[in-house]
Symmetry: C2
Subunit: 230 residues, 2 copies
């Protein structure tokens, strides 16, 4: 496999995908066209506008982009594509759309064959075992929470450390992930903004500017450095 | 109906349910025993310990508490009870448990007949039309997101204003609720900590120390003061 699962598309104060540019040139080496999957986007901008945003970044690295929503036969479009990028938004909406159109398994099979895949945020969640560690609001009801399982764990994108100054009783991210572990025996990667997971063949590493917090059943959460294998 | 749906059980720096004490004396007037529904609690403390916590508060207002988990026949326990309190935790776990044991509709029917109901956080979410505006992580997959609909809107408990200092690209609460409204035409009450919804008969008001933010499809979000009718 040849995949990047990134915490976020955009760093605070940065431009769309800019911080990943060198990595994406490597990921998509030899490919001049990819399919963009815009289905996580619930509002604000349309699938067309969202695809335009991806197009204008990928133009800078000489890759053309087609939105999956443009195709009549989406299964055929996925099967014919050379690479993929799933953008962020709402994971519930993304997973519902992919399952209802029977595209989750088609995408999985293609990526498992070695086609390049980039996911950001919700697009990274679907690379995990299931979407049970998304941060998103359940605005629609998907027929299943199962995802592609491109990696043998779950991802929590936009991982955020507790803020000791916050006078608020909502759960911290760490508390939420520990709650997940009371119900599921699946490792969770708390991926801070600036970090991504890289899989090349069977080697999986965590990369980026921050350390990464790992949560496992029956263990205290721990930190690993960029470059560590997962 | 006679209900309170509160944003939180505990104010920052306060004691469990303390800020609601006068309201709860009024809510449960004439009642000396209630059923506590502990099913939202995924970890940390057991159903027994969680029920003990509720018991020790309610002792101070001369109400005894039984945990619903203690009963063999939970439907019968709900039908025989004089009042209810559903505690906070994880809304997905609470809704899954109530649907799987066919208790959501039993509880709804009893509360609609006029029996007193208190919900905090996840316990308030289930008073709304559905759980699609919870803040919780989807750690389990419920058979449905539908809730009791004791009020003709949805609740977002622990409503939190955007923090302009946060250098982070995760969605704000306001963005999440606006995303909900792209997919659902249901009013959402952004209930800040310190506030609660009170329903007496057919009159529904919002009460507490803060103003309340209302979200409706096709409108800018707006604020209403404590005491306003909903």
């Amino acid at each position: 496999m040849n995949i990047i699962l990134a915490s976020t598309s955009t760093l605070f104060g940065g431009e769309y995908l800019e911080y990943l540019k060198a990595e994406l040139i490597e990921l998509y080496k030899g490919i001049d066209e990819i399919i963009f999957i815009p289905f996580a986007r619930p509002g604000g901008i349309s699938h067309e506008e969202y695809t335009e945003k991806a197009k204008s970044f990928f133009k800078t690295i000489n890759i053309s982009v087609k939105g999956l929503h443009e195709f009549e036969d989406k299964t055929e479009a996925l099967n014919s594509a050379k690479g993929y990028f799933t953008g962020g938004g709402n994971t519930f909406l993304l997973v519902k759309t992919l399952h209802e159109e029977n595209l989750m398994s088609v995408l999985k099979q293609n990526v498992e064959k070695g086609k390049a895949y980039l996911g950001c945020s919700a697009g990274s969640n679907i690379g995990g075992q299931n979407m049970k560690t998304t941060n998103d609001m359940p605005i629609v009801y998907p027929p299943s929470f199962d995802c592609m399982g491109l990696v043998p764990f779950n991802i929590n994108p936009h991982y955020l450390d507790p803020n000791p100054d916050l006078k608020h009783n909502g759960e911290t991210r760490e508390t939420r992930i520990k709650e997940f572990l009371t119900q599921n025996n699946t490792k969770v990667i708390g991926l801070r903004e600036g970090n991504w997971i890289r899989r090349v063949g069977s080697t999986i590493t965590v990369e980026g500017s921050e350390s990464t917090r790992i949560f496992e059943q029956g263990k205290e959460p721990y930190e690993i450095e960029a470059g560590s294998r997962l």
